[in-house]
């Protein structure tokens, strides 16, 4: 042996700064679109020929393998061995993400399309006196339930917000000793099953001999709203720079003034967001209200006396009836709740955006 043969391999320069490879772009586009076109063609041609093509089966056994294969081929061609792995990751990620989005849009679309049938002025303005499960949708509505929800949620908000802000201030401003414990407990409260909150308030009602009123519903909503308000407002207060606080303290202001005049104004929109998100959390909460309030077909403006209808219990009652028209009413109620949630949600976004 005269010379040792050394196997060398040269690494091809990849020039990531080079212009986009046109052939690659074309192939990627074809590989992304072709399987979908093929699957759609199979579906429509098959249906036209009279065969029953199951979309779910076609999607899982037809489209997905096809899409994987085409992505593998293109990935292997342009990126080598890594390309295949990457293609798998990309295809699976996009497929599953699309699945979630389809589910979400399906929820939104069914609420809007089915709710729009029931929604009309009388649905918002009238109560359900004289209404049974089969009465035509032209009569009666959820007005009494909307009033009930607004009153109960307003009371719950008035009770919860000071507590939630207090907890947030304790966690961020006062340097209290029990911060870790309180934070853990608030976290634990946020996992509180809503039905347990209802049972808790019901057990108090039984012990005290009180009747179920709108107020008992508000009380049952409090433990569910509290963790949301305190967590989001804690995040908002945390965003206020420490220098601002220290500056105020260094100028000699007491802690409460540093909070009220410096930190609070700076965090105001974040705190508003906390309130809005807290309200959005409880406005559609059903299980605790089913246990702690009694449904009522009439309008009741006094949350401290007599049974009071609320939107979630309105929907719950009508769905349980199982008549077509009553389920329609249920959809209408869902649409009203979703509009409320949507308004609160957008409000929270807008309030949060102003700051940045």
């Amino acid at each position: 042996m005269t010379a040792t043969q050394i196997q060398t391999s040269t690494i091809k320069p990849t020039n990531p700064w080079a212009k986009r490879n046109k052939a690659r772009t074309r192939d990627v586009a074809v590989a992304s679109v072709l399987p979908a076109i093929l699957a759609a063609a199979v579906y429509f041609v098959g249906t036209a020929m009279g065969a029953t093509v199951d979309p779910a089966v076609l999607l899982i056994l037809g489209f997905l393998p096809l899409q994987l294969v085409s992505a593998f081929v293109v990935g292997k061609k342009y990126y080598g061995r890594h390309g295949r792995e990457d293609a798998l990751l990309i295809v699976v990620t996009i497929f599953l993400s699309t699945f979630v989005m389809v589910l979400l849009l399906s929820v939104l679309w069914s609420v809007i399309s089915a709710g729009a049938i029931a929604l009309r002025p009388s649905f918002i303005l009238q109560n359900s006196h004289y209404i049974s499960g089969t009465t035509s949708l032209d009569y009666g509505g959820a007005g009494h339930a909307i009033i009930g929800t607004v009153l109960a949620v307003a009371i719950a908000t008035i009770l919860t917000v000071p507590l939630g802000f207090g907890i947030a201030v304790y966690l961020t401003e006062t340097g209290g000793k029990a911060r870790g414990l309180i934070r853990t407990l608030v976290q634990a409260l946020s996992g509180l099953p809503s039905v347990v909150s209802g049972l808790f308030i019901y057990s108090i009602l039984v012990l005290m001999g009180w009747q179920t009123t709108g107020f008992s519903g508000s009380l049952a909503l409090l433990p569910l709203m509290l963790p949301t308000v305190s967590r989001v407002s804690e995040e908002a207060l945390r965003l206020v720079p420490v220098d601002l606080r220290n500056g105020a303290l260094a100028l000699g202001s007491p802690t409460w003034q540093a909070f009220a005049k410096v930190v609070f104004p700076a965090a105001r929109s974040g705190l508003l967001t906390a309130v809005l998100l807290g309200v959005a959390r409880i406005v559609g909460e059903t299980a605790p209200l089913v246990l702690t309030t009694t449904y009522n077909n009439d309008t009741n403006l006094n949350p401290f006396n007599g049974p009071m209808a609320m939107l979630p219990t309105f929907i719950f009652g009508y769905i349980r009836n199982m008549y077509d028209t009553s389920i329609q009413r249920g959809w209408g109620g869902c649409l009203v709740i979703m509009i409320l949630v949507g308004v609160l949600f957008v409000g929270a976004r807008v309030a949060n955006r102003k700051k940045k």
């Binding site: 199951d54 779910a56 990126y79 890594h82 390309g83 792995e85 798998l88 990751l89 990620t93 599953l96 979630v100 989005m101 589910l103 979400l104 399906s106 929820v107 069914s110 939630g164 802000f165 207090g166 907890i167 201030v169 304790y170 966690l171 401003e173 006062t174 209290g176 029990a178 911060r179 309180i182 634990a188 946020s190 996992g191 509180l192 809503s194 039905v195 347990v196 909150s197 049972l199 808790f200 019901y202 039984v206 007491p254 802690t255 409460w256 909070f259 959005a280 406005v283 909460e285 059903t286 299980a287 089913v290 979630p312 719950f316 389920i327 869902c334 979703m338 949630v341 949507g342 949600f345």
Partner: protein, 326 residues
């Protein structure tokens, strides 16, 4: 210039915020009242429920947890929640198994794949999904998604029915099975797991990811070898958080799951099931005093279970973010 001889640098002064003025004392007092309220609230919930549930625990004994009978007309009355307890666990686990890959993909898509605008839209949509009340999901699951999912269950039975036990089903009605309940629950917990996972992903050190790419690793290798090991703690914590939510989910499951007092171990498309929470809602209206006591007892079991899981999950999430100071 070095410090000479035995000149000691004094220890750093500890800054204390002790309220000295009266107004500050009031301010500190008010906030600690609010903070202590959260302790009191949890103790009150446990105390009141335990007080009301005690008669049921006393009369039913340990078989309350293991038995399979719920009969309020028998003498003596029998209240046992074995099937419901297992049903809760089964539905929550199914929901989590379905939701976890969806949530991880979505988080990966939002953080590492999508253009910024698409990512922003997707994030908003996921947050919106989290805000949809459970009764809306329940009605959707019952009226819109139910028939579709029943069809999927029928397909599972047709194609995978040769696997013994798991895909057992009789008859042509595929409604009310743990499979459908698990799917509906997964829709509700996907946003929770996604937001936790996304937060962990977004806090990752970009330099590490870029280093991996610079070393020649592709997307998949980076995900498997760099992103996943770093974020695994957070993902597990998020999954547990979702599991806790799934256990407590009530109304949506109430509408899509049959309530049968017979333990259905793993026959996921068989229409037998029920969870503790959905049982409480369905039995509560017509219950007499002893039965309500038994429902309170089921509630306390559920609460303790979710408390344990959420404590575990927040511990794991915290461990997974060692860079977060407090």
């Amino acid at each position: 210039m070095s410090p000479q001889g035995d000149t000691k640098i004094p220890a750093r002064r500890q800054l204390v915020t002790k309220p000295s003025r009266r107004a500050d004392k009031v301010f500190f007092g008010l906030t600690s009242v609010a903070a202590n309220f959260s302790i009191v609230l949890i103790l009150l919930i446990l105390g009141f429920l335990l007080f009301q549930a005690w008669p049921a625990f006393q009369s039913q004994g340990f078989s309350f947890f293991s038995g399979e009978t719920w009969d309020s007309s028998a003498t003596p009355q029998i209240f046992q929640i074995g099937p419901m307890l297992w049903g809760s666990v089964l539905v929550a686990l199914l929901g989590m198994v379905i939701a976890l890959p969806l949530a991880i993909s979505l988080a990966y898509f939002i953080e590492f794949m999508a253009a910024r605008k698409i990512a922003a839209v997707a994030t908003t949509l996921v947050d919106l999904l989290a805000a949809i009340p459970s009764i809306v999901i329940g009605l959707w699951g019952f009226a819109v998604f139910g028939p579709v999912a029943q069809h999927w269950a029928a397909l599972l039975h047709d194609y995978l029915g040769w696997i013994p036990y798991v895909f057992y089903h009789e008859g042509s009605n595929y409604g009310g099975s743990p499979f459908i309940a698990g799917l509906v629950v997964s829709v509700m917990i996907v946003p929770i797991i996604t937001s936790v996972t996304r937060e962990i992903f977004s806090q990752m050190d970009r330099d590490v990811i870029n280093a991996s790419i610079a070393l020649g690793a592709g997307r998949a290798a980076t995900f498997r070898k760099v992103i996943l090991p770093t974020a695994s703690g957070g993902i597990v914590g998020g999954a547990l958080l979702g599991l806790g939510r799934a256990l407590g989910e009530t109304i949506a499951i109430f509408f899509v799951l049959n309530l049968v007092f017979h333990i259905n171990f793993f026959q996921v498309i068989n229409g037998e099931g029920g969870t503790v929470a959905s049982m409480i809602v369905s039995k509560f209206g017509e219950a007499d005093a002893p039965e309500r006591s038994a429902l309170m007892a089921s509630g306390i079991v559920l609460f303790v279970l979710t408390l344990l899981i959420s404590a575990l999950s927040s511990y794991i999430v915290k461990k997974a973010q060692p860079w977060r100071t407090n």
